[in-house]
Symmetry: D2
Subunit: 287 residues, 4 copies
């Protein structure tokens, strides 16, 4: 028996589909007729619609004004990827629910953070940084350069694509160095921005994607839909590994040490928190 | 005038010395005679003493039970590197003060986190992850392998060094992938651990160094003192860049766009938060 | 038409299987009866056999003493992942063929480098570093700690696994910082080693995996087979992007500049080397 | 004696100055009167001149048509940082000398690679990738955004600076993911480029900086001079660690293993190649 007793090898069952939850504030759409005209059912419904058309994804939606923001513990437990759009009401998201989402990401749930979600509590909590940037709402054109053409997220995207009108987001962007840089944007007004980037935090994959100001029809554009669909598939949970900090017995014989003491306060803790691992799917088809 | 109006070029004044603040809980030393025998004035005083001997450092100390934990805004504003040791009372550190320290790190202050500080609120807030690990308080010997011999932090350290008795910390360690991996430890009981690692968060440098359980005389060992001294020098602040998220005017002429609207709610914000930069020292001698 | 003319969007055809080529020197097996007893058909045949059993992989083999080392241009063009084991005859691998393999990796072909392949010309050429390490052929036990439990390569592997007898490889290991650290090994004799690590180079994925000294039955062990199988699936090519360095026309109108000159030596080059992209499969099932 | 016998702790002597060698092809200047007018003594002399004015640097120059390209073993042994500019004659640099320079970088010598040096043999050998990019010699303006304002290389540089006319270099750039991204450039014609980036290879620091086409007066611009000067100081050698791959005796007692054999071919090698370390300076002032 060579496997560790502390962590069971992952189980090999394959999921029949990926559960995606698309969350948005759903406030601008109610307050601003211009936004409502572009996203009549809310930004979340537009995103959910193209994800549903992509196939293989089981897509549902939630928004801020639902009980528990639509993010109950049960629902998050069954979610493989969460897509997040927020802007004007970041402060209304309850800290307890932010912590709940963060725990799920660290366990393995994927997270896509869109546009003004750079300032969402959940993104800032996972990055540990300011997540600040430059911005300008004007008549800029944005050109997104694909700097990682072999990455799953850029599958189907060529050298670059353009968004005819978008809010400018500019460097410096207050993020930790990304694990993978995917897109760098050029703006008419003279700025650049790391507009697509990934990080692993705990066992979850995170993708930040910059386009999507609410007054532009960005989420109706084919390339944007393609990137988000790719991102959802790339980020989906493949494990579910709850946090543990076990007190671990030695695997090799230790020298006797009359000085060594055991802190009894801590010693029992590991036994009560046995680590568990559940590999919920393979990230590799056919495995 | 080619420099940006948004950020003034750094000023070139050189500091005459680096202000180091060594913080510890100072609780075990009062409760456990064994710990008090090893660290009579508290762990912070032992660390401060060898840093003072190293030269060029202006060292002071603070601890949990002081007002504001000894971490007032004024004091932090004048601190270039903060050294953190905590263990049994992480939960008593006030959230407001954690946020204050975090802000200073993001502005440029260096941070050394020692041993059980892996579970300190400030470390978890900057990492965004669980920071969990395996542990065992027993009679292990630890051997720290130097995997980055050209790094300033390993200056004066050879291929490896040993600590005769230390608490075992084992993988997996719930941290984001380090920017730089410095040490990997071997333990008698069969485990390994990334025992020295660095991250940049915002404009501050962070160094986590694993040795230092309170019941062992670890901070009296020459190699450990050398690594911490090197780490303090490496991590010291060279800039002070407050957070800003400015609304930025275009640098190039934009196309006319009758559709473009300005969000007046946000438009004024940048003007009230002009970004400032203060380069407080050069990280390069003689520059 | 928002896609770039310079790079066609990837095509969406899915491969029915992955073509894997397992290469080994096949010299120790002929010279040393002990090795021949462990790997009667050669190390490559043992590895090929368990990969064939895994399903979904179309596996063939090649070795040093075949014409062109069995690595003809045609054969490499049809290979999605190359597995490499070499040791005593690195110097006999022709430089021209090393360059041919390197070109294919940069275009997108995956590469697994095993054990003493750390000193193979192809690995050193892709890493750009010494790839040196410590070593000892003795009676060490090796324990591989899984430091990335959510990674596809560790699917089915628990907290750690052990190899009863292996050659010790120790730090410092002369590699660039890995993109992803997968395993850290503990050796009885007191050393540690980054025994599983990945890098992206060009559009290809590279996985180095340390176990496999020819005098031990390492490739007959279930966990080792599992890791290599996972690694092959993870590294398989999903794009085929030949190198290009195009002279690119401006996408936006440029200011007039009577001083600007065109270097006619270089100007025609891009036109003769139009970049091409072929997305040969999606890395995401069902996409 | 806790230090390893395999690697002596670094010595603490501080250098009185840093030896910088500025290398260029020195061909365009002889063939093209326009280039000669901008750089009368050659590009290397212009760069050497502003480095000399910076203070603390002992600067000399070398060029392609000197014996051994001016890069003799003795000269490289005494060099702390090498600055490299090449363009039209990359193919004339002898492979043996490229290997000699590479060895020195891996031992600890710093390397700055400028502009068209992206295609120099030495840069490609250290990166292991194509180093290809897009390019256009026209009337573009370039704006370099500082994405790492706390880095020593951007000391004295604000949010961004502009170069009135430069050759466009565009993404995708065929490099390994940088250890640190320093600058991202915006070009009038619509492209972006990672125009400043660092990597550690072996024990040496490498900085690639994109500006400097020979037909523009780029190296006369104050901000460009500042960045190169900062880069030289940041990259300077602090160690000199020759390559070794030692056969290492066990540090802990091993179990008896009658099966274990020692490969006598390899066993003596380590003894004849004892690893040596020479810490030639501290990277930290005052240490």
């Amino acid at each position: 028996m060579l496997y560790s007793a502390l962590m069971k090898p992952a189980e090999m069952s394959l999921p029949t589909s990926t559960n995606v939850l698309v969350w948005s504030e759903f406030r601008h759409e109610k307050a601003n007729p211009k936004v409502a005209a572009i996203y009549p059912g809310g930004i979340h419904e537009t995103i959910a619609a193209f994800l549903r058309r992509a196939g293989g994804l089981n897509v549902s939606t939630a928004w801020l004004d639902q009980p528990e923001h639509g993010l109950t513990a049960d629902r998050l437990a069954g979610t493989d990827v969460l897509v997040w759009w927020g802007h004007m009401a970041h402060g209304e998201v309850q800290d307890e629910i932010v912590q709940r989402v963060k725990t799920r990401v660290l366990e393995g749930m994927g997270l896509l953070v869109l546009h003004s979600g750079h300032y969402a509590k959940i993104f800032k909590a996972l990055m540990g940084t300011s997540c600040s940037l430059k911005r300008r709402e004007s008549s800029d054109k944005e050109r997104l350069w694909n700097v990682n053409p072999a990455h799953p997220i850029t599958c189907g995207i060529g050298d670059y694509f353009e968004i005819p009108a978008e809010e400018m987001y500019g460097e410096p962007f207050g993020i930790p160095a990304p694990d993978e840089l995917i897109f760098i944007s050029w703006f008419t007004g003279g700025e650049v921005f790391r507009s697509g980037a990934t990080w692993q935090r705990g066992h979850g994959r995170i993708f930040y994607f910059q386009p999507g100001h609410e007054t532009y029809p960005t989420y109706h554009q084919a390339e944007v839909q393609r990137v988000i669909t790719n991102g959802v598939r790339w980020a989906r949970a493949t494990v579910n590994l709850p946090d543990c900090c076990p007190n671990a017995p030695a695997l090799e014989s230790l020298p006797p040490d009359p000085q060594a003491t055991v802190d009894h306060r801590l010693a029992g803790l590991g036994a009560r928190n046995p680590p568990r691992q559940r590999r919920i799917s393979s990230p590799i088809d056919g495995l």
